[in-house]
Symmetry: C2
């Protein structure tokens, strides 16, 4: 199963690489770094990363959408949202980190579904699409194939939660232990909701 990590200029490094560190511990998951047109993508932290074009990705993989400084303009980029809609609709699972859920919400695939986002940005996120059932108190939220996490670091807790549901909680704990990560395993325990 391919993990398609969708990168765009000024994406937040930990948003992508926190979950990647965890998901890559599953042998059958293969990491694919993609962007709309492929080529080099520079993160907010100045990392230049090679990406393959989205059209070459296996659309039935697991999609990971991080956030970035560019998110607020990307929600109005019709071409980007169109491409995101195509891959998200086909993907077996969609995982978003931080306001990556705002991008996914813009595709209308989250309409009527439970989702969460960074708690500092919730007002803006709700304004992007009010038809989503935005959860204001959640480390991460699950609705069908959609996993949406709270702010940046919450993506790691969600990735472990995702693995727990697929491979059992012991596998998730084993991965957390192997990277010495103190896992907040309760998706409803959100210390940043206040």
């Amino acid at each position: 199963m391919d993990i398609n990590i969708l990168l765009f200029p000024d994406f937040e490094t930990l948003d992508a690489f926190g979950p990647v560190e965890i998901l890559s511990r599953i042998e059958e998951y293969h990491m694919h770094y993609i962007s709309i047109n492929g080529g080099i993508i520079k993160s907010r932290q100045g990392t230049n990363i090679f990406t393959a074009p989205l059209k070459n990705a296996d659309f039935y993989g697991i999609l990971l959408v991080p956030v970035g400084q560019g998110t607020r303009s990307l929600v109005t980029d019709i071409k980007f949202i169109e491409k995101l809609t195509q891959i998200a609709a086909h993907s077996t699972y969609c995982l978003t980190v931080c306001t990556g859920s705002a991008l996914l919400a813009k595709t209308n695939l989250l309409d009527g579904k439970k989702a969460t986002s960074n708690k500092r940005a919730l007002k803006w996120v709700k304004s992007v699409n009010s038809k989503v059932d935005w959860i204001t108190h959640a480390r991460w939220a699950v609705d069908g194939k959609f996993y949406t996490s709270s702010g940046i670091s919450a993506g790691m807790d969600m990735a472990l939660g995702f693995i727990a549901e697929r491979f059992g909680v012991n596998k998730a704990k084993e991965i957390a232990d192997s990277i010495e990560y103190i896992w907040n395993s309760d998706k409803d325990n959100d210390p940043f909701a206040k």
Copy 2:
């Protein structure tokens, strides 16, 4: 001040990008991705990243040394250790994550100093250099300009601890809050020491 992130083939993605996410929140810190000869470096998680050659780095910056699958062969790579010794000796601060401390120990700059590492690898790490005062119970350790952290995720706690000492604990808490990271702020609180 430059943050020189020293990458090498098969480095562990979160080792580098956890601390990078945190350190980059300090306006005066500039991220520089370097490797011994420069060029493209592929992480253990398949990320292809552009790096500048080490010789072009500001040797008086802050050095960040992650770990990787290649670490166990790199400790015997005389040329690599020679270059690492040069930059580490000049660097204002040296930060290592996981068994990155074994690489640093090999330079002999840690001799007689307190340092820590991944708790699962401590036996091997001690065998690399027994003249280091290896701390078996620490989320991270500080001795002069040397900051060494425990396994992979501990690098984030250490980076926040490093910032707390330079810019105050409130600044570190502010950064942790902004990325919704549950900071283990006590360097002696090591849940993985057992």
